[in-house]
Symmetry: C2
Subunit: 329 residues, 2 copies
DNA sequence: GAAATAACTGAAATCGATTTCACAATTATA
DNA sequence: TATAATTGTGAAATCGATTTCAGTTATTTC
């Protein structure tokens, strides 16, 4: 069913049908009714692609995620879709599986007028990213990393990490192991580590490089890094920069015959859904990923209205969730 | 940059540029090179919306999910996007938040030529769904429920649930509580329960309705249902139809002062990522959700080629993951 | 009652690509 | 060499909507 067909059935021109559908321009009441009747009868829905072409709006938002099958990503997407729906927008997902090449390809592809705005969940933002981003035809918002010149939604990684370290120190821990990730990820790899170090310094706790390990993002890595640390020394507490790393660490500790938290306390960051249901329930930092997704979407819509608002920086809140995985000394 | 501009720069007509881009029709070698040179220089990418309109193909797949921020959904989407990428397709996500009205709206909207195929993760499939599905202009595949006449990817819920029950019986459990969900969800609510009952019957274990409870899908429900069952009787084992329900049940048991698995064994279905890291590690059924997503996508592409293949029924495999949450009597 | 304004309508142009069609220039075949 | 077949090209139609433009009819205003 095309607009032409509706026009014929209603005995008017396509222009009139369009005017009725979009409620603009003059249409005599009886013709309007005739058109609406036909539309209802045949359940006519205009071809969105043709509309996109003519209106130069696709009513779609692109979301670039590093890995869709993670709790963080899916929560962000949930937030984005929620706001998108309010604006009558659809969400197009681009899953890069952590491949930078893919990320850049998607940036190009999506910008090419197939979406009206882009939200990129950043891990590593390279110069090549920036080169492409500078030429983008549509607004973009970066989520999770701070990129100057671009609107970014960032989690308060510094304060969160600092507070967590401080919390452990206030529980009288002094031998606090650190399990981090590669520095290519600015927010997680660099900022969270810096906050940890700064906090130790503030409280004059000496930094022991033997208690620090850097690896990937998965549970297994947490396990291995913990084992590695244990070969040198047994800390009284472990600060893992993600909950998954913390879970791996806990299991390594248990397998080494240590009790958590009685022998070693463990904390993470992220507050995955099951954190409270682990044994012991995990002390962690709650981030509002869904809210971040919403904020990102709202920022994109704002940029679509007025692209001079580029470059804003939004920081989301966090909350320390103290649970049983930490025991004071 | 439009095709016209490229044509002008290369000193040819838009038709020739199109012929070069799509590698069809005759083009003299020198003109082809001239065109390619210009395309490369200005990094021209054709407007996908205009192409969609002309070609009547959007190169997009629609996925309707009940809740994007669940592990199941995100794994399915990961599988779908993987296959989609191979075919040069993008994935459009429609998140219905379990709202049937939304589901039907999305079916209509997506079918309307804005995607070339639809994958619907079904929970409840009503007559209203069917009415809309019958009129769909594009192929659709249902994932997770069996709908006759439509290609469905189903998990072997019956056998999985039966095997799990059988496993408990073989561990000499006879008082096996059941925590299920509403029957509106055919696969989870009806089939899994039927298999449980059939298995009890097969082994002449008497069914005790006091040991059965029906609720929602979340951890809290599992907790409450377990508490409710405990007011009547303490079973030796609990069969929850999802891992989340099992986790809720475990916590209710622990809070009631019972030990898992020493006093009560608990099993779930789904094998969420953290199932092996819970305490105790959860005995459950591993479903290959990502594979289901891939199969669904492949089935959709097959239907796009040849719509007579409609109505196939694919069953995915499962694997019993026996972990420490079950103890033989 | 004439002039000015408002209400209404459809033909045609447009969005940016693809493809048909008609025709021209080569090359192959008889 | 004449004819047929192949190669090569651009103008124009097309996809399905929206919008401008020009023209008609109805309503005010003086």
């Amino acid at each position: 069913m095309r607009i032409k067909d509706i026009a014929k059935l209603a005995g008017v021109s396509p222009a009139t049908v369009s005017r009725v559908m979009n409620n603009n321009g003059y249409v005599k009441e009886e013709k309007r009714e005739a058109v609406l009747k036909v539309i209802k009868e045949v359940d006519y829905q205009p071809n969105p692609i043709a509309q996109s072409l003519k209106n130069q709006k696709s009513h779609m938002l692109g979301v670039i995620v590093p890995k869709i099958s993670t709790e963080t990503a899916s929560r962000v997407v949930a937030g984005v879709t929620e706001v998108a729906k309010v604006h009558g927008y659809q969400v197009l997902i681009a899953n890069t599986d952590l491949d930078i090449e893919e990320e850049i390809n998607y940036l190009k592809f999506l910008s090419n007028k197939s979406v009206d705005g882009i939200i990129m969940m950043g891990t590593e933002v390279t110069d090549r990213h920036l080169a492409v981003m500078d030429k983008l035809a549509v607004p973009i918002v970066i989520l999770g990393q701070e990129v100057k010149g671009y609107t970014s939604i960032i989690h308060n990684d510094y304060d969160a990490s600092f507070s967590m370290t401080e919390y452990l120190i206030k529980q009288h821990h002094r031998e606090i192991a650190f399990i981090g990730v590669d520095e290519k990820d600015e927010a997680v790899g660099v900022v969270r580590k810096k906050a940890y170090l700064d906090c130790l310094n503030k409280y004059a706790v000496k930094v022991d490089s033997k208690l620090m390990a850097i690896g990937d993002f998965d549970i297994d890595t947490g396990y291995q890094m913990m084992q590695q640390i244990l070969t040198h020394k047994t800390p009284t507490a472990v600060f893992a920069v993600t909950d998954h790393l913390a879970i791996g660490a806990i299991h390594a500790l248990l397998d080494a015959g240590l009790r958590v938290p009685d022998d070693v306390s463990v904390v993470g960051i992220g507050d995955i859904k099951l954190a409270a249901y682990l044994n012991p329930p995990l002390t962690t930092v709650h981030y509002t990923f869904k809210t971040s997704g919403k904020m990102a979407a709202e920022a994109v819509f704002e940029l679509m209205e007025d692209d001079t608002k580029q470059g804003k920086r939004f920081m989301t809140t966090f909350e320390l969730k103290t649970r049983a995985s930490v025991k004071a000394i």
